[in-house]
Amino acid sequence: MTTEDEVRAEVRAWLAEHPRPEDDGGEWRAALVDSGWAAPTWPVEWYGRGLPPEMRRVVAEEFARAGAKAPALDVTQLFANTVLAHGTDEQKRAFVRPLALGEFQGCLLYSEPGAGSDLAALQTRAEADGDRWIVNGQKVWTSGARDASHGLLIARTDWDVPKHRGLTFFLIPMDQPGIDIRPIHQVTGGSEFNEVFLTDAVVPDANRLGEVNNGWRVLQTALGFERLIMGGASGEAPRGFKPKDGVDPVLAARQSPWTRQTGGADYVELAKKVGKADDPVTRQEIARLYTLEKVNAWNSLRARADSSGGSSLASIGKLAMSRIQHTGVRVTTNLIETESVLTGDTSPVAGEINRSSFAAFVTSIGGGTDQIQRNIIGERVLGLPKEPEVDKNVPFREVRKAQGTRSFS
């Protein structure tokens, strides 16, 4: 067992031998990946150091001391993590290093028009054809599809078993004629998400991750890694609060996450500007909003410092953020009232509030709706029983399904 001091000494020695160049250049990055310090908890034979999760903090601290940022690929590299968890040695050899170096980029081919909250009801089919699979169907809400070299694809390979048991997981090459990527026109006016049409797309059997029809289990691992990234849980020290230094906590909360992103106004300043600082209703609403933001921030501090209870705290963060954002929109709309019907250059403030109002739905719908989050908390955290599932032991072929394809581009 390596002690914390030994780890510190080893990181320092490596950083002393390999000072970080100004541009984080490719060679340094490659040396870092090969050294294992880019992913300390990965196995030694696969670009890691084989350290326990609690050492991530130690490694991060030593990198910070040297003015560098520890990549922590063992937290952030969802694709490599999934390959390491379920891949064959051959697949690890083919994918882990290129993913770690950023030569390969991944995207997620999970959701479909007919399979949102009920992901296991997906209808994209993969059919065996010698040593390859032919894929037909449609995926949706895929961000980064255009930049991706590979997609993490889950597809149906058996229609005569219940829905969870006929799915298989693949790493499909994205650059091929059978894959058509179309940006979705979003309510925000932007197009961060895409729909991906697969028409006789090909994936070699060598790119299958895990056993045939065992894709649901692989997916659960992948989703677990995604939660790890979103929760920012890096297995840090014990329980308590770990505030960041040098941040004015009151000011930070007043400039809420969604207005901060767009360089927007502090809602206390906005209330003063519109002459509502003394209005009792406004004061109550703003205090409530501020409170929601603070308690969520404190939950995060507690989750960061809490390796034991962190998981249940992490599960509430998304729901809490949804409430903050939707409340924030209501409170700021109440501040500007009539002006909130405007947008664009006519009223930049209204434009920002209206943009935020849609951004709030990204949180309350994307990555599991608030209602699904409540089911997860109810079932996994509180241990309440699941709803009876009418499609549970029925072959998927016979289950009532949503429309499997629909274009929004």
Partner: protein, 367 residues
């Protein structure tokens, strides 16, 4: 502001208090004390002080206490809050926090008596109009030969019928200060108030020329005490809310209707999930506020009213959820859901209503 972590000592304290509360304050015993004339059992009170050292937790060591801080007190209050402990612990703890603001030459003997379990103490702050801030204080303090005399009316005084010692907020020539009076002093008249929550008794106290000693006349000290009180009450509410949630979830798993446990219905499940989010958030708020105060952080000033408002709302909402989840049985006296609902009401409105605390918070964040 550094890092705060719960330690093994904190865990040990929590375990000890949880075990004690479960043993001594069973539901049956809580109900018996609710019906009794007095919620105080002197032998239990002495055991709490001498065996567990609870009344002396925040009392400095030189006065017979443990010299611990608000976080440790919050742990005890959370655990007592879970069990609706009717013993005058919160009252005495708040009085202790008030005494700690003053000169030890005045407060030392009282702190020692509290730590030893010899006295029940309480704070008399609000008056007939039910305000919990210094500006609402009309009770007058005037300097007289050999000390001070208090004249006025205090109300909503927790455990005011049984208190041996009162810390009274009164208006003197230099503004509102804190004063100590003896429960047996001449000119002090107590009236028992009929209360919705019998686990927390209240009294109205009339003061006519009552001899008093000054604890502190500094407005900063009074405000520091009020913030500490807000954080302490918030911690007690987290305990009650947490217990009510456990009750709701437990019932939702057991109760069968339409051929299945009602907790499998999303209508019930989502109520429980929302309550869980609030209870965990309330826990973060209460302990952050306690720590910020203990640490002397400038954020304590905003965290304390925030925690009081949020934990109050959370306990009240969770207690209501607990009743709604239990359905018809929650309307019976026998089922304990209403005890938590009553406690949630008293905790929310005493020591500063959520509305008043949010208004204070609004001022403190710059509105």
């Amino acid at each position: 502001m550094g890092t705060f972590e719960f330690t093994d000592d904190h865990d040990a304290l929590r375990d000890a208090v949880r075990g004690f509360a479960a043993e001594v304050f069973s539901e049956a015993e809580v109900r018996r004390l609710m019906a009794a004339d007095s919620p105080l059992e002197r032998p239990v009170w002495e055991r709490m002080a001498r065996q567990l050292g609870l009344q002396g937790l925040v009392v400095p060591e030189e006065y017979g206490g443990a010299g611990a801080g608000l976080v440790e007190l919050a742990i005890v209050l959370e655990e007592f809050g879970r069990r609706l402990v009717p013993a005058p612990f919160l009252s005495t703890a708040l009085a202790t926090l008030a005494l700690l603001q003053g000169d030890r030459s005045v407060t030392g003997e009282h702190l020692t008596a509290i730590a030893d379990g010899q006295v029940v103490a309480t704070v008399a702050l609000a008056e007939d109009d039910g305000r919990w801030d210094a500006t609402g204080v009309r009770c007058e303090a005037e300097q007289a030969a050999g000390g001070w005399r208090l004249n006025g009316v205090k109300s909503y005084v927790a455990d005011g019928m049984i208190a041996d010692l009162f810390v009274v907020a009164a208006r003197g020539p230099a503004g509102v200060g804190l004063f100590v009076i003896d429960g047996t002093a001449d000119g002090l008249t107590r009236t028992d108030l009929e209360v919705f929550d019998r686990t927390r008794r209240l009294a109205r106290v009339e003061l006519v020329g009552v001899t008093a000693t000054l604890v502190t006349a500094e407005s900063d000290a009074v405000e520091r005490f009020l913030d500490a009180a807000r954080a302490a009450v918030a911690a007690e509410q987290v305990g009650g809310a947490s217990f009510a949630l456990d009750m709701a979830v437990g019932y939702a798993k057991e109760r069968v209707q339409f051929g299945r446990a009602i907790g499998s219905f999303q209508a019930i499940k989502h109520m429980c999930a929302d309550a869980f989010v609030d209870v965990e958030s309330a826990r973060s708020a209460a302990y952050y506020a306690a720590w910020a105060l203990a640490d002397g952080s400038p954020e304590a000033h905003t965290a304390a009213p925030l925690a009081k408002a949020f934990c109050s709302d959370t306990f009240f909402e969770t207690a209501a959820t607990n009743m709604q989840v239990a359905g018809g049985i929650s309307f019976t006296d026998e089922y304990p859901a209403h005890l938590y609902y009553r406690r949630a009401k008293s905790g929310a409105q005493l020591w500063g209503s959520p509305r008043a605390q949010r208004d204070l918070l609004a001022s403190r964040i710059g509105l």
